[in-house]
C-alpha cells in the first residue's frame, strides 16, 4: 500500500547511540547551530521581558508547583472525578496503559466515524505514542496542522523542540520544503513563494484550509484537564487548534494522566505561568476550553483517551515524580547551553533538552544506551531550574537519575569508571591516602616537561586533551607548602608568592 502522508526519516529512538555520539554529529551541523543560537536567544529575551513584568512570579511558581504536587499525590482521586464529569458532559472516556493501546483507540474511533484521515492539533502526547505512524499503518492519514509540525511532517523530519518542533529550520529551508512537498499532499504552495515568514504562514493557511473544512475527525492533546468540571484546555497561537477543536464531527483528545488540575480556578495560575514561559507572550493568541460535547457548537462525538505510557513509573519515584509537574513550556530547552548547541535530535526522544533528560529515562527506563546517557547530558549549570514555571529541580533530578543509572550498570559497562570512582572514593574519604596520592602528583609536576599543553593517554584524560590543554600538577601542593610554613618557627608571616 502506498503511503498517504510523507514518510519520516528512519529515526528509531530505541537502539540509537548514546547522547555524546549524537551530540558530536549535531555539533558539526553549522547551519542548525546558527538557527538554534538565533532562535533560542530570541525566545530567551522575550521570556525574560514578560516574566520581569510579573511582581509575584515566584509566588506563582510556588503555587504552580504546589497545585501539581497536590494533583500528583492524589492522582487517582482526581482522575476518577475528571472521568465522571466528562461522562456527564457527554464525552466517551478511554484509558490506555501504553502507546499501542492509545493508538488503537484512535484508530477504532476514526474508523467508526467512517473517516480515513484526521486533522491534528500539535500534541506532545501523540508524538510520544507515535500516533501518526500507527494511523498510517492503519490506512488513516494524519495531517499535522501546527505550522512547525507541518514543516516537520512535509520535511520528512522529526521534531527537535517541544514548542517549536522545526526550530532547527530557517526560513529559506522552510520555503524549499513547502515548494517541493505541499503539492504532493494537497494544495500546492504558490510558485512565487518567498522566504518572508508572512508569505510562508499564508501558504500554510491556504494549504490546510481545505483539510480543516473537509475533516470529519480531529485529534488533539490537551494542556490542562480540569477534574472539577471535566473541562479540557488547549493553548495555541495559530487558530489551527480552534479549527480542529470546532469544525469536525468527532474529536479525540489524547491526554497524559498527569495533565489533570483539581479545579477550574487553578487555571488562573497556569494561564499566567505558561504563555510567559513558553512563547514569551503575556497571553497566547488562542485558548479553547471545552467540556464534553456542546450540542451544535463543535464536535458532537467527543472522546478522551487517558494515557499512562510510563507515567506511573515516574510517579512511583518519590523524588522523581516532580517531573510530572511539567507543563511542556520549553523554557528549559531555550535556556539550556547544551540544547542550544546540539538541538533536539541528539536526545533520542520527543522530549529533548533538560526536561527530556529527566523525563525520558523515567518514562522508558534506562536499559537502552541513549536513555542511560541522558541524565549525563548536562553540565548541571542550573539555568533550567531558574526558568521552570513549576520549579522542577532538574539539576538534582539529573543527579538522582545518574545515581540510578550507576547502580543499575555498576556490574556491567562501568568497569573502568567503577575502578576509578572506587579508588578515588577511598582517597577522598581518607586524608592519608590523599596526601600519598598528592606526593605522586607532585612528582609528575616536577618532571622536566613544559607546564601545560600535553596530550594525555587514557579515556578520561584524552577526552579532556582532545580540545583542551591541561596544566601539570603543581610541584608542591598547597598543603605541603602550608605544613612547611607552619613547621618553620619564626619565619616571615608573609606568605611567599
Amino acid at each position: 500500500m502506498t503511503r498517504r502522508t510523507p514518510d519520516v526519516a528512519p529515526v528509531t529512538w530505541l537502539g540509537m547511540p548514546a547522547f555524546p555520539a549524537n551530540a558530536k554529529v549535531q555539533l558539526a551541523n553549522d547551519r542548525q547551530r546558527a538557527n538554534l543560537t538565533h532562535a533560542t536567544r530570541t525566545i530567551r529575551a522575550k521570556r525574560a521581558a514578560v516574566v520581569s513584568e510579573v511582581d509575584d512570579w515566584e509566588q506563582l511558581r510556588l503555587a504552580g508547583a504546589a497545585i501539581k504536587d497536590r494533583t500528583l499525590r492524589h492522582l487517582d482521586t482526581y482522575l476518577v472525578e475528571f472521568e465522571k464529569k466528562l461522562k456527564a458532559a457527554g464525552a466517551t472516556v478511554h484509558w490506555a496503559r501504553d502507546a499501542a493501546e492509545a493508538n488503537q483507540v484512535v484508530i477504532d474511533v476514526t474508523r467508526a466515524a467512517g473517516a480515513d484521515e484526521v486533522v491534528k492539533v500539535k500534541s506532545m502526547a501523540t508524538q510520544e505514542i507515535e500516533l501518526n505512524e500507527a494511523l498510517e499503518e492503519a490506512g488513516i492519514a494524519a495531517w499535522e496542522t501546527d505550522l512547525a509540525e507541518l514543516i516537520v511532517q512535509l520535511g520528512h523530519d522529526s521534531p527537535s523542540h517541544i514548542l517549536v518542533p522545526a526550530i532547527h529550520r530557517n526560513r529559506s529551508e522552510i520555503r524549499e520544503i513547502f515548494l517541493t512537498e505541499m503539492g504532493r499532499y494537497g494544495r500546492a504552495a504558490p510558485d512565487d513563494l518567498t522566504d518572508d515568514p508572512g508569505r510562508l504562514a499564508e501558504a500554510a493557511r491556504i494549504h490546510l484550509r481545505e483539510k480543516f473544512l473537509r475533516a470529519k475527525v480531529a485529534v488533539s492533546g490537551a494542556n490542562f484537564a480540569v477534574a472539577e468540571t471535566g473541562t479540557l484546555v488547549v493553548v495555541e497561537s495559530e487558530g489551527n487548534g480552534r479549527m480542529c477543536l470546532t469544525l469536525p464531527e468527532t474529536l479525540i483528545t489524547v491526554v497524559g494522566i498527569e495533565k489533570v488540575l483539581p479545579t477550574f480556578a487553578d487555571l488562573e495560575v497556569f494561564l499566567k505561568l505558561l504563555p510567559r514561559s513558553s512563547t514569551g507572550e503575556r497571553m497566547n493568541p488562542y485558548t479553547t476550553m471545552w467540556t464534553g460535547a456542546h450540542g451544535l457548537d463543535g464536535p458532537r462525538d467527543v472522546h478522551v483517551v487517558l494515557v499512562d505510557n510510563g507515567r506511573t513509573n515516574a510517579l512511583a519515584d518519590q523524588f522523581g515524580r516532580q517531573v510530572l509537574r511539567c507543563i511542556r513550556c520549553s523554557a528549559c530547552l531555550n535556556i539550556c547551553p547544551v540544547y542550544e548547541r546540539v538541538g533536539g535530535h541528539a536526545y533520542g526522544s520527543v522530549y529533548p533538552g533538560p526536561i527530556g533528560a529527566v523525563l525520558t529515562p523515567q518514562l522508558r527506563g534506562h536499559t537502552e544506551a541513549i536513555d542511560a546517557s541522558l541524565p549525563f547530558a548536562s553540565s548541571l549549570c542550573g539555568a533550567c531550574f531558574d526558568v521552570c514555571p513549576v520549579r522542577i529541580e532538574i539539576p538534582d533530578l539529573l543527579v538522582h537519575l545518574r545515581r540510578q543509572v550507576v547502580d543499575e550498570h555498576k556490574r556491567g559497562g562501568l568497569g573502568l569508571e567503577r575502578l576509578a570512582m572506587g579508588v578515588l572514593g577511598e582517597v577522598m574519604g581518607n586524608p592519608h591516602s590523599l596526601r600519598a596520592a598528592q606526593i605522586a602528583s607532585t612528582l609528575a609536576g616536577k618532571l622536566p616537561i613544559p607546564g601545560i599543553g600535553r596530550k594525555l593517554p587514557g579515556p578520561g584524560a584524552s577526552a579532556w586533551t582532545t580540545s583542551r590543554d591541561l596544566p601539570m600538577p603543581a610541584a608542591e601542593t598547597f598543603t605541603q607548602w602550608w605544613r612547611k610554613r607552619s613547621d618553620a618557627p619564626g619565619t616571615d608571616e608573609e606568605p611567599d608568592r
Binding site: F376, C381, V399, G425, S467, W481, P495, R497
Partner: protein, 250 residues
Amino acid sequence: MSLFITCINDTMFPHTGRAVVSVLERLGCEVTVPANQTCCGQMFTNSGWFGEGVKSVRAFVRAFADAEVIVGPSGSCVGSVRHQHPMLADDAGDAGLRHEVDQIVARTRELSEFIVDDLGLVDVGAHFPHTVTFHPTCHSVRVAKVGDRPQQLLRAVDGITVVDLPHAEECCGFGGTFSVKNPDVSAAMGTDKVAHAVASGAEYVVAGDNSCLLHIGGLAHRTKAPIRTIHLAEILASTQDAPFMAGAAR
C-alpha cells in the same frame, strides 16, 4: 577561620591557596588549615556514585568539626557542601551525620561571602592595574548563591578596569565529569565562553572557581586565544608592594 582549600586548588592551583592566605592574613584573620581535609565529594555525587560521595562528607565533617568559620575559595565546592552534603547524609539514612552536616553548613562560607559578610569589607586594599572581565560561575551563583559579592570586591580594587563579559550568565561547559563524558559539547560551550571573554577586550577572565578556569584556560591556551585566567583571590592578594606576577608559581 579554617581554610577549606578544596582538592583541585590543593593539587593543581596551590598559588590560589597561598593568595587566599595572603589576603585573609592581611585583613587580620588567623588562618588555620585543618590537615585532614580532603574534598567536597562533588565529583562522586554528580557522577552518581553516592556511596563514594558520602565518604567525603564524613571526612569533611571530621576535618572541620572544630572550625569556627570554614572558608572555601570555590563557589562550586562550597555549594556542594551546602546543597549536597545534607542530601547525601539523608540518602545514607544517617541522622547523626545529617545533624553534624547542618551544623557545619551553617558555618561554611565562600571566600567572597566571608570577606563581604563576615569581615564587612568590600575594599581589601588590593591593587591590580589590569583590564579584567568576570565570569560568574554557575554553581557560585545558583548553588552557593554568592550574588554579586565577587563583583563588589573586584570593583573596589585599586587600578583595575572591569569590563562586561557578553553572555556572562551562560555556563562555560566545564561541568565536572561532563567535560570528559560529553567532551564535544563541553568544548563547544567553552569555545564560546573564550570567544566572549576575548570579545570583552580584557586581559584576564576572572572567576571564583578554578575548575571552570582550568577548562576555559585549557581551551584558550590550546587555541592561543589572547586571554588569561585568574582566580579572584589572586587579584585580591595583589598589592602595590607585592603585585601579582603572571606565570609565577603557575
